[in-house]
């Protein structure tokens, strides 16, 4: 009989702890002093429950304004098994005149077990808030008392700027070279062909006719992109129709050059060189786009 009594009593001793719905409850708060207006105060609540019990998120305080001077900025709930970690982040907007004691309001966390509801209260937490400055703002010799922080000094970036400039110029050079390779500038180069030819022709006389004719041939070849012959003039005009207006002069040039280079007994007169220069003048006008 005595043994039965001991057994019943020891079982009764165990029953209490088994029935507790919340096996662990702790509120972790930071220091309760030294806060000023605008500070954020984190609060962490750690709860471990028995199995089969789940947290009702609706029972947690809602994000937003709690009262006149307190805001709840963030509510995070992390669950790992039966353990809940609730992180709350408050922000105070109270402007005290002297050090003042304030209280974060308590609330009750609700759990549900089947249809049953169990509450665990989180106690209110008291802390002190200090003013930012003395009650009367004073003037000092150093200027305004209420002033922003001195701006931070800038980091030295001269090296980086030089580096950027150097890499940009290298990139520009490469781009220019690439576009030259892809043939983006032929027009620019071809626009001065006859200008250069005229400059060279100016120094030549009647006796240098061979040189003069070769020069004009070279210019026409470069303009055409490949050697230009009399019988290919029509293709040349198709590509460069603006030169059609000097077709008669070009015909004269090719006939003259053929006679000069490929047949005997050609007598050169001064007018021929002049005519050659006239041809180049006309072509120069065309390449400048003024005709």
């Amino acid at each position: 009989m005595r043994i039965v009594l001991i057994l019943v009593l020891s079982l009764l001793g165990c029953s209490g702890s088994i029935d507790e719905p919340v096996s662990y409850f702790n509120v972790e708060t930071p220091r309760p002093f030294g806060y000023v207006i605008g500070d954020e105060i984190p609060q962490r609540i750690v709860i471990e429950t028995r199995s089969g019990i789940s947290l009702q998120p609706g029972s947690l305080p809602a994000k937003g304004q709690i009262n006149r001077w307190l805001n709840l900025n963030q509510v995070t709930v992390k669950q790992s098994g039966r353990r809940y970690q609730i992180d709350l982040r408050y922000q105070v907007f109270y402007a005290p005149l002297a050090v003042k004691s304030l209280t974060l309001p308590g609330f009750t966390v609700q759990f549900s077990q089947g249809e049953k509801s169990i509450g665990q209260s989180v106690p209110a937490w008291t802390f002190t808030l200090s003013p930012l400055r003395e009650l009367v703002a004073r003037q000092t010799e150093q200027g305004e008392y209420m002033r922003p922080d001195s701006p931070p000094s800038l980091l030295a970036n001269t090296q980086t700027l030089y580096g950027l400039a150097a890499s940009l110029s290298v990139a520009a050079l490469i781009a220019a070279y690439l576009s030259y390779l892809y043939g983006c500038f032929p027009d620019r180069l071809r626009r001065t062909l006859f200008k250069q030819a005229l400059r060279k022709l100016a120094g030549l006389s009647k006796s240098d006719m061979e040189q003069a004719l070769t020069l004009v041939h070279r210019v026409l070849n470069s303009l055409n992109g490949q050697p230009l012959f009399h019988n290919r003039l029509s293709q040349f005009y198709r590509r460069n129709p603006q030169y059609l207006q000097v077709s008669s002069r070009l015909d004269w040039f090719f006939n003259y050059s053929n006679r000069y280079f490929f047949s005997d007994g050609m007598i050169v007169v001064t007018q021929d060189l002049q005519q050659l220069k006239d041809l180049c003048e006309q072509c120069r006008k065309i390449e400048r786009g003024s005709q």
């Binding site: 070769t214 041939h217 490949q226 050697p227 019988n231 050059s257 047949s263 005997d264």
Partner: protein, 338 residues
């Protein structure tokens, strides 16, 4: 009569001859012009083209118009050199006889020798032709026979490759020109060829060509012509550049797609090929009423005189049909004169 007048008279004859051929075989003006050039430059001609485009008709018309003794032989796989030189038969009395074959039949007056389907003949026949074409002589019956006037016209069709023998490089080089005959493209010409009964009977068509009887004087004329038409140092330089470009086109900036240029060619133009080119160029200058050769003369005949003389590396030879015309065009487009 001085030489210049003589050349002028001959030119009129040549142009008239060309007009007549163009009326007989229509739509092939460029080919006719090239054949006229070859005839007056005394060079042999190889025609290549599809079946039934008028190769044989063209050559028969030219042979008929030129006059002179004409012989023709068909290339077959069993044709042997001896068949060209003699043939044996039993005569009326039943005695075996040996008579001269097509090459020897006319002796030294043999003028036009027309070899039809030359690529069907065996290499032995090609070898006999080599000498006949280059030296205008052959050896038979223990003596040499000379043919001072022989002009070989050969044709081959490019459709079939079975039972044919590719002409050896040496034989090809002896032809002055290889002329491609393509089907006329103009609708009017095609319509005419289809519906005009004049073109239905080839024999009658050929018979309509007047025999000008100029043939046996051609050698003399060609000689005079080659001496009279001038070439200037600048033209020599241009021809030399063209020649070098056929050996190393990459040095003249010729670039073909998907080809390693230094490995493109196995052989460029031969000295004989270049001398043929100049002969034909002089003849063209003469037909164009000039007494001097211009670069455009060389350019006009460069493709027909050179294409069959360039031999591609076996690695790219299968693209011959595409690469050779591109190469020739590239050379003409890159070499400048003066």
């Amino acid at each position: 009569m001085n030489t210049d007048t003589q050349l002028t008279d001959w030119r009129e004859l040549a142009l008239q001859f060309e007009r007549q051929i163009n009326q007989t075989v229509i739509g092939l003006q460029p080919a006719v012009r090239n054949i006229i050039l070859a005839v007056f430059a005394r060079g042999h001609v190889l025609l290549e083209g599809n079946v039934g485009v008028g190769k044989t008709t063209l050559l028969r018309a030219v042979a008929q118009g030129l006059g002179g003794d004409y012989q023709r032989i068909e290339g077959t796989i069993d044709l042997m050199p001896a068949d060209l030189i003699y043939y044996t038969y039993l005569n009326d009395q039943g005695r075996p006889c040996v008579d001269p074959g097509p090459l020897l039949k006319h002796g030294n007056t043999l003028a036009t020798f027309f070899f039809n389907e030359i690529n069907r003949a065996r290499p032995q026949v090609h070898a006999l032709l080599l000498r006949a074409m280059a030296e205008r002589s052959i050896n038979a019956f223990n003596r040499d026979y000379h043919f001072p006037h022989i002009q070989v016209f050969a044709d081959r069709n490019r459709v079939e490759k079975e039972e044919t023998f590719e002409l050896p490089a040496a034989a090809k080089d002896r032809f002055m020109m290889e002329i491609n005959i393509d089907m006329p493209s103009a609708d009017t010409v095609l319509d005419e060829l289809m519906f005009n009964p004049r073109f239905h009977d080839t024999d009658q068509l050929i018979a309509g060509v007047t025999n000008s009887g100029i043939y046996y004087r051609l050698n003399e004329l060609a000689q005079t012509l080659q001496q009279r038409i001038q070439t200037s140092p600048k033209l020599h330089a241009y021809a030399l550049s063209l020649w070098k470009a056929t050996h190393q086109p990459q040095q003249y900036g010729v670039q073909l797609t998907d080809v390693e240029m230094p490995q493109l060619l196995m052989a460029g133009a031969s000295p004989r090929g270049m001398s043929y080119l100049i002969r034909a160029a002089k003849t063209r200058a003469w037909l164009e009423r000039r007494d001097h050769v211009l670069p455009e003369d060389l350019q006009a005949i460069f493709p027909v005189c050179m294409t069959h003389r360039l031999f591609l590396n076996p690695m790219v030879a299968y693209r011959k049909e595409q690469l050779l015309p591109e190469l020739i065009k590239g050379i003409l487009n890159q070499v400048a004169a003066p």
